[in-house]
């Protein structure tokens, strides 16, 4: 996981995104190694969301993407990359910042869970919903119990707390057995006690199943708590990528060292 010899799982090469002549992402090369936790850290406007969207193939109309994506030895041109025919389709799960946007407010949670299971099955090519193998059943029950999700009863999303909703979305993401799970600003919609518990749990589950976690955040202190590697993004450029300890102890770029210096309050750390 930590050795640099491990071939990367996903590789973005020379990713450039422009909108209306403005360069939003400037020839970024980034890879994700299997099983690692990689944090992408950047301040507002750095290009975090654009980077994610290009990786997932869901850029909005008007964005011009170039570069290439390599996944499992296959390469794809990013210029025509859409989520529906992407190499990474079914291999990357995305957990949105605000859990309520990921749930249908008018449907019971149990129904939404069954849809997620069905989606996961469709991705694996076994479309018949009733053919739920014993192995699959234990796997999904495992995920639910690991994330401490109890019975759905007949509840609707609004009857669950945001912390529980967030965990359910994590479970949705995990049952598809993705290779990578993306956490977009995982703490911002949650209160700290719940956020801490959810993050500790999800990183543990991901480690148990050898899933990479791609954490996107503006908070360097949070990133360094959880990540094996940290990538620093600023004004569309990848400033620095390194092991967390390297970034903290010997940042090579002045921008990074400034961020490191200011990650906590107080002059003692300045």
């Amino acid at each position: 996981m930590k050795g640099k010899e491990t071939p990367p799982l996903v590789e973005l090469s020379d990713l450039t995104v422009t909108y209306d002549g403005q360069v939003l992402i400037d020839s970024i090369n980034l890879d994700v190694i299997a099983g690692e936790t990689l944090a992408i850290v950047g301040e507002s406007g750095a290009g975090k969301t654009t980077l994610l969207r290009s990786l997932l193939g869901v850029t909005s109309h008007g964005f011009k993407v170039s570069g290439s994506l390599t996944f499992k030895g296959q390469q794809q041109d990013l210029a025509s990359h859409r989520s529906s025919d992407s190499l990474v389709k079914g291999s990357i799960a995305y957990v949105p910042q605000n859990p309520s946007v990921g749930l249908d407010p008018l449907k019971r949670l149990k129904w939404q869970w069954s849809q997620a299971l069905r989606g996961a099955r469709a991705l694996k090519g076994t479309l018949l919903p009733k053919e739920q193998g014993a192995e699959e059943k234990t796997f999904s029950e495992n995920i639910l119990s690991q994330l401490k999700l109890k019975a759905f009863d007949k509840k609707y999303p609004h009857q669950w707390s945001r912390g529980m909703q967030q965990r359910l979305l994590l479970a949705f993401a995990l049952i598809a057995k993705p290779k990578i799970i993306i956490l977009d600003e995982p703490t911002s919609a949650l209160d700290p006690i719940i956020a801490a518990k959810a993050l500790v749990e999800v990183t543990k589950v991901a480690r148990d199943h050898n899933i990479s976690v791609l954490m996107v955040t503006h908070d360097l202190a949070l990133a360094t708590q959880f990540a094996d590697r940290v990538a620093v993004l600023s004004s569309g450029k990848l400033i620095e990528v390194g092991m967390t300890d390297e970034i903290l102890n010997s940042p090579s770029d002045p921008y990074t060292s400034n961020l490191v210096k200011h990650r906590h309050w107080g002059h003692a750390h300045a």
């Binding site: 209160d191 700290p192 500790v200 961020l259």
Partner: protein, 258 residues
């Protein structure tokens, strides 16, 4: 200077705040912390007189604001800075007009107002000439500085802040916090912050008021709170802050191993 006694707020038979007591001396900073829904904003609103008290009283420099008499609108000599500076400024008015609105009840002449605005912008370290711009032409950090200038130009005794830094980038946060600290010392102001950034609270607060479900879970000096929180809830919150890295010195992996 400020005293809050047995303050309770009820709305539609729901008790939002129950029996809140605290005081604040000149030059002190109080941080109100708690989860969303714990009543932080309700407390601030009731102190400002935007929500009637159901019980208790608030007194500031001898002015008493009491329940259920809500004829008095808020406390004198207080000002407030909100979370989202762009939403707090009128987009159709130049920055200087927005700042001047704080002075509309004063008897200052136009030249004096212009001078006060210049002085306030200077205090928050904004460049000359910015007063003639519109909110859309300045950055988020600059807009928050304008909001602070607008608050201090009225020469209040207490400034209320509702998450004033959470919309800003980390480095900007620290710069503005330093500006606030200097202004506080210069003018002998008192600050009341609503925040969920425990790192900020530890560094800038003198006292901590921890709310949980509308009740005071803990009211302590900042040193004691961060060393030895009395309530189980306070301990849990600190532990979470260490895990999330908002407070330095503990690694998650150690916590997981423990």
């Amino acid at each position: 200077m400020l005293e809050v006694n047995n303050l309770s707020v009820q709305m539609q038979n729901q008790c939002l705040l129950e029996d809140i007591n605290f005081d604040l001396c000149r030059g002190e900073t109080l941080c109100i912390i708690g989860e969303s829904g714990s009543g932080k904003t309700t407390l601030l609103r009731s102190l400002l007189g935007l929500i009637p008290l159901s019980q208790g009283s608030v007194s500031l420099n001898g002015h008493v604001y009491q329940s259920p008499e809500s004829s008095q609108i808020g406390l004198p000599s207080t000002q407030m800075v909100m979370q989202d500076p762009i939403a707090a400024l009128n987009p159709r008015k130049k920055v200087k007009i927005s700042i001047a609105e704080s002075l509309y009840r004063s008897s200052l002449k136009a030249a004096e107002i212009a001078h006060a605005i210049k002085q306030a912008l200077n205090d928050v370290e904004l460049p000359d000439g910015l007063e003639n711009r519109y909110p859309s032409q300045i950055s988020l950090g600059q807009a928050q500085r304008v909001c602070i200038a607008r608050a201090i130009v009225a020469k209040p005794d207490i400034l209320f802040f509702d998450e004033p830094l959470s919309a800003l980038d980390a480095i900007i946060q620290k710069q503005i916090a330093q500006v606030l600290e200097r202004i506080k010392k210069q003018n002998e102001l008192s600050y009341i912050f609503i925040t969920h950034d425990l790192g900020f609270a530890r560094h800038y607060a003198d006292k901590i008021l921890l709310l949980n479900r509308g009740k005071v879970a803990e009211y302590q000096g900042v040193g004691l709170f961060f060393e030895r929180p009395e309530s189980a809830y306070g301990q849990e919150l600190l532990e979470a802050a260490y895990i999330l890295g908002s407070l330095p010195h503990k690694k998650t992996k150690e916590i997981q191993a423990a």
